[in-house]
């Protein structure tokens, strides 16, 4: 008995000393980490989960750290459902989402907290929750990016309805879509369900799944592939078209806003924004972040390299010369009449619908 007790003690001491080594080696091995620890004590940390493209978000977060001294721990590529899973063990303070539906869904689940940051009035009420638990900064519309060397504007499909037709699989090198797990795709399908009902939407998913030549993880892959002539066109958000225009080569691309004709549903819109996570570990810093983000210059920074449309176009997001002529203001666009805030109510059933269709796993 004595022996095993002693041994257990030894074992525990051993483990503890490893932990101690693991912790103490941090500042010892990196002198700049030590400075960081020092500044942490003053300003603290902020944990941000984001499912927006890392390139757009990291620059914004770096700017925040620079100006406030608050260290940001970012988890890029996070799924909104991670917050659901962690609700008894909350880790995140802020959730940045590419899909307002995800934020609406989280709010519906009671995972976001009411907020009232200074400057919130600058966001139109259509683009924020009633209690400001989440709000949108930038907006985008879905549409088709096409390669002008391969297909002309006249030959392109003009409506989501057109994609039911198998003939589009026969265009040169076919067309591309994203995996069903993609936030933009989820929002799009939610909007179609609102417009068409589930049955027809399921048929539509089955049709594009069958007819698409490429199924990609993200929209960035699609714009590059279309630009390089790997596909004739692809289903993306409008700002990916803007991004491709800025590329040094493979930039001879055009864009079709879907369903703009008389009696058609209008382009499916979505927005990117932020939500305040309930019971996050750094609530004070989260409040600072929201307020900071609402400053006009930071709303512009939120758009950043993404080249999305700022909801407050008056703040003058500046676009590169190549893109400027192709910018279509949101006001000039025929947008589907589903309020973007509604997306959250569709989120859960939409993911099930996508899963049933098998599009959530496909890659091609």
């Amino acid at each position: 008995m004595m022996k095993s007790k002693k041994l257990l003690a030894l074992f525990i001491i051993g483990l503890l000393s490893i932990l101690a080594i693991g912790c103490s080696s941090e500042p010892a091995a990196a002198p700049d980490a030590e400075e960081q620890v020092a500044s942490d004590e003053e300003a603290g940390q902020l944990v941000v989960y984001s499912n927006r493209n890392e390139r757009f978000v990291q620059a914004l977060l770096d700017k925040f750290t620079e100006e406030t001294g608050i260290e940001v721990l970012a988890l890029h590529g996070a799924n909104p459902l991670q917050l659901v899973e962690e609700q008894n063990n909350v880790r995140a303070d802020i959730f940045i989402s590419n899909d307002l539906g995800a934020l609406g869904y989280l709010h519906g689940e009671g995972l976001l907290a009411e907020s009232n940051p200074e400057g919130i009035e600058s966001i139109p009420t259509d683009f924020r929750a009633d209690d400001n638990a989440y709000f949108a900064i930038s907006a985008r519309a879905r549409g088709l990016i096409y390669n002008k060397d391969m297909i002309t504007e006249e030959e392109m499909p003009k409506s989501a309805v057109d994609l039911f037709d198998a003939k589009w699989s026969e265009v040169e090198n076919g067309y591309a879509i994203t995996r069903g797990g993609n936030g933009g795709m989820i929002g799009h399908i939610s909007a179609l369900r609102y417009e068409w009902g589930d049955e027809r939407t399921a048929e539509w998913i089955a049709a594009i799944r069958e007819n698409a030549a490429g199924i990609y993880q993200g929209h960035g892959d699609i714009r590059r592939a279309v630009g390089a002539g790997e596909h004739s066109f692809g289903l993306v958000n409008n700002y990916y078209f803007h991004q491709q225009l800025v590329e040094p080569d493979n930039n001879n691309v055009g864009f079709i806003y879907l369903d703009q004709g008389e009696g058609e549903m209008g382009a499916v819109a979505n927005a990117a924004g932020v939500g305040l996570v309930k019971d996050g570990p750094n609530a004070e810093n989260a409040a600072i972040f929201l307020q900071w983000l609402l400053l006009p210059e930071n709303q512009v920074a939120f758009v950043g390299e993404s080249l999305e449309l700022l909801i407050n176009s008056a703040y003058g997001a500046s676009y590169p010369a190549e893109v400027e002529p192709s910018i279509v203001d949101f006001g000039d666009l025929k947008v589907q009449d589903m309020p973007i805030k509604e997306l959250g109510n569709f989120f859960e059933d939409t993911t099930t619908l996508i899963e049933d269709a098998g599009l959530d796993l496909d890659l091609r």
């Binding site: 041994l7 941090e26 990196a30 944990v47 880790r91």
Partner: protein, 561 residues
């Protein structure tokens, strides 16, 4: 204790004499004898044994947890998955595993044969050059092949710049994102498993058998098929099983090449937080792994080959003659495709990356994260491996072999399953550690502990048990013998094991992706993210660093085989 019992029973002087006692000394004695029989009269101390047992249990808890979850996933979910998803995934996974295993066996055995048994120029150099693909993780290999053969890769530019090629073969038609693309990439970066084991076996092969065959008038090729190949059978089996397990568990290369196997499906299900479905798929994949392990064990048991050692003579070296240029070309081609090309691509993009300032503070931060988490995992593995291998080699019995087998659970199974179990356990029961880097390091321990065990075992087998006995006779308990006497003597082996774990951890992708806390990206994770965004100038330096670090244990691997 026993004595007092007996005396009490002897004083059995109450009214009714009691028959049959609660603490039957006979029964106790029976168990004690059984217990001693198991250990052949040499049981280890309770402390050491329970320590070993604890470690083994830790190693397999995540997996048990996944099984548990999958059982309670609900009939609906099972039916839906069985109906729609599992058949397709089974086909995808099994067809890929079969093709890659067969092609790695063909390539690995033929290379081993040429390098070990023929007079190919540069024999010594080829021996280790051909093992080099081991240093390139398949997901890095996949990135380089996407850069070269992708839909707008270098090969397309080359193809389209030559009107001759277009006129004869038509438009650029290589599709790397296909079944054959995935098979090719995986084959090129996993054949060394077969190659290394087959060459070790070929080197040890006794010349007498071949000479007997030649004297019976068999030709060189007949000797190969009838003598060498059967003797190689265990080596081929061992190599093939490593490859098959690798292919079933690989996530990075497969996801990058847009193919979906069980492992990738589990990852994506988990990424969209359908954990119940993910655990159902995990259970099927576990079953698949076990079937493969069992099949291999069974076929190996049926046939036994003995090579008597006391008449051992070194094997013959075959003259290649007119085949020399062909053999040389073949070996060079494999080397070019599996090492030279990917490394050149990485160097090319790393150069661009460095010029564009990729080696900034952020990059070194990622490198430091990799170092920290892998180093931590390596230290724990070295500590955990000790008691288990000590028990196994000094106290061989059914109990220790169970402990040993349990420790292999996380090693044989794909990393996504281990990670899935960790998510369940830590989020629900150990929230303290959830969201810290320790959880990543622990997952590495579960995945790679057997590497440290194997290395340690090799050096422990060189130490005579007499040393232990001497120490025991001087009054040390077993655990103290292990720490004070054995450990210092087997340190090189343990450290080599630690190095192996370190390198495997640096390369690890799926578990890191699933478990990393916010703000804690490693080099491997960066390679994956940057490459999937086609930002090659940021992916390449990180990948190159991983490859350079991976060169460390190759020396050890070559010595071992």
């Amino acid at each position: 204790m026993d004595n007092r019992n007996i005396t009490q029973e002897q004083l059995n002087n109450s009214g009714n004499a009691k028959v049959g006692e609660k603490n039957s000394p006979t029964l106790l004695r029976f168990f004690r004898r059984k217990w001693l029989n198991i250990w052949q009269s040499n049981p280890p101390g309770v402390g050491l044994l329970s320590l070993g047992f604890c470690i083994a249990v830790i190693m397999c808890i995540p997996i048990v947890y996944v099984i548990w979850q999958s059982v309670f996933a609900g009939t609906d979910r099972w039916m839906r998955l069985l109906d729609q998803r599992i058949p397709q995934l089974l086909w995808n996974t099994l067809s890929l595993t079969t093709v890659v295993t067969i092609s790695t066996v063909l390539i690995g055995v033929s290379l081993a044969w040429i390098v070990i048994r023929t007079d190919i120029p540069g024999k010594k150099m080829w021996r280790w050059l051909l093992a080099m693909p081991l240093t390139i993780p398949p997901y890095v290999g996949a990135v380089t092949y996407i850069i070269v053969f992708g839909r707008s890769g270098w090969a397309r530019d080359l193809w389209e710049s030559s009107t001759f090629v277009i006129s004869t073969l038509g438009e650029y038609s290589i599709n790397i994102y296909s079944f054959w693309g995935v098979s090719f990439v995986l084959t090129m970066f996993t054949y060394p498993y077969v190659y290394l084991i087959a060459s070790a076996s070929l080197r040890k092969m006794n010349r007498n058998f071949e000479e007997a065959a030649y004297s019976q008038g068999l030709s060189a090729s007949e000797v190969f098929w009838k003598v060498n190949l059967p003797l190689l059978r265990p080596a081929i089996g061992a190599g093939a099983i490593l490859v098959a397990l690798y292919v079933m568990g690989d996530f990075g290369a497969i996801a990058m090449l847009r193919y979906v196997t069980f492992t990738a499906a589990i990852y994506f299900q988990r990424a969209s937080f359908d954990t119940a479905s993910a655990s159902v798929l995990s259970l099927v994949l576990m079953g698949l792994t076990i079937v493969i392990l069992w099949l291999e064990a069974r076929t190996r048991k049926k046939i036994k080959y003995y090579q008597s050692t006391n008449t051992y003579r070194k094997p013959l070296t075959l003259k290649l003659g007119k085949w020399k240029p062909f053999a040389f070309l073949y070996v060079s081609l494999v080397f070019f495709v599996s090492v030279l090309l990917p490394i050149s691509v990485l160097l090319y993009w790393s150069k661009i990356g460095v010029e564009m300032g990729a080696l900034d503070a952020r990059f070194w931060g990622f490198a430091f994260n990799s170092l920290k988490v892998s180093g931590f995992a390596a230290v724990i593995c070295m500590l955990f491996a000790m008691p288990i291998i000590y028990l196994k080699s000094r106290y061989p019995s059914i109990v220790t072999s169970i402990i040993d087998k349990l420790s292999y659970a996380g090693y044989a199974l794909p990393g996504v399953i281990v990670a899935l179990g960790f998510v369940f356990i830590f989020n629900n029961h150990l929230p303290m550690l959830y969201g810290t880097f320790y959880i990543v390091a622990l997952a590495f321990v579960v995945r790679f502990l057997p590497q440290a065990m194997q290395a340690g075992e090799a050096s422990l087998s060189l130490l005579s048990p007499r040393i232990d006995e001497a120490a025991r006779s001087l009054g040390y308990p077993p655990w103290k013998v292990m720490l004070k006497v054995i450990l210092p003597n087997m340190l090189p082996g343990v450290l080599a094991g630690g190095a192996l774990v370190f390198v495997s951890s640096i390369k690890e992708l799926p578990a890191t992706l699933m478990l990393r806390p916010p703000g804690f990206d490693t080099l491997a994770v960066r390679v994956y993210f940057e490459a999937s965004e086609s930002i090659y100038h940021l992916a390449a330096p990180a990948a190159l660093l991983i490859v350079i670090v991976s060169i460390i244990p190759v020396r050890y691997m070559l010595k071992k085989y």
